[in-house]
Assembly symmetry: C2
Homo-oligomer: 137 residues x 2
DNA sequence: ATCTAATGATACTATATTTGTATCATTAGT
DNA sequence: ACTAATGATACAAATATAGTATCATTAGAT
């Protein structure tokens, strides 16, 4: 089972490419050619990133997208948030019959700990950290 | 987005209940009454747990299930494995165009680290640790 | 032996999510 | 006016999740 869905994946790649293009406006056509993502699907993804404020868009001829955040403030966690909602393991594993001590439930605490660890790590994976470390072919 | 699906969830509750019943054979009917899980769905789940060797089953009148593992050697990770397959974030986020240094890819390493952390934690959540800490109502 | 209450195996159905397509309106550069 | 881009929105296909149903097999009880 995968934690990261395809749209998150595609979005991340597009964002990395756009970030590398600095302040140049990048059109969908270019991204499709570079990344090999189905055109209409990618458009929908970029439109959503725009609606959520992660991208700035320009309509009309010569239009396209640029980042609307600093690369160091744009994380994988945020991108996942856009397409997959908030990450969690599961609300409550042992319902009332099996786990009466809701206040002191240690299992719940352990689950929350895992969740926040993962969230922290995914937040640390920023676009900036990705464009720094990898050169283009 | 939830990491744990319903069948894993149900399976865990059933296993906890069965573990608490010690060496007594527990039938589906009893579990349905206690846990309020749809009968046929629960049957399918238990049959799969049996096929995967986590439960021992007894057919015929007075039949049912008992654990086929020591509670301290039966973890949430194993149960998830049965119903959801191996947990992973995503194979490779930035394919060859964006991430040419496959051998030294730091992103990949970070992702693997998150995965193995989560796996370790989920393995530490054993049935034994659950039946010890919570009394029945 | 027969009845009965349990699981084994397997196929089917329904619902939700993921993934992808298509169309028309709007905008802006030339 | 023409053209090349995104915005909004609806539609459709594929897959995964959740749940049902049926018949065969087994073993205890009488
Ligand atoms: S598992 Fe939900 S309160 Fe303990
Ligand atoms: S992300 Fe796949 S090799 Fe770097």
């Amino acid at each position: 089972m995968k934690l990261i869905t395809r749209d998150t994946d595609y979005a991340l790649r597009a964002l990395v490419f756009i970030a590398r293009s600095m302040d140049r406006v990048v059109a969908v056509t270019e991204l499709v050619q570079e990344l090999g993502i189905p055109r209409f699907f990618l458009r929908k993804i970029l439109q959503l990133l725009h609606k959520k404020g992660l991208l700035k868009s320009f309509k009309g001829k010569g239009g396209g997208f640029i980042l609307n955040r600093l690369p160091q403030e744009l994380s994988l966690l945020q991108v996942m948030g856009v397409f997959q909602g908030r990450f969690s393991l599961n609300e409550c594993l042992l319902k009332k019959h099996l786990c009466p001590n809701i206040r002191t439930c240690i299992l719940k605490k352990r689950i929350k700990n895992i969740e926040s660890y993962v969230a922290r790590e995914l937040e640390a994976i920023t676009i900036a950290s990705l464009i720094k470390k990898y050169a283009r072919t």
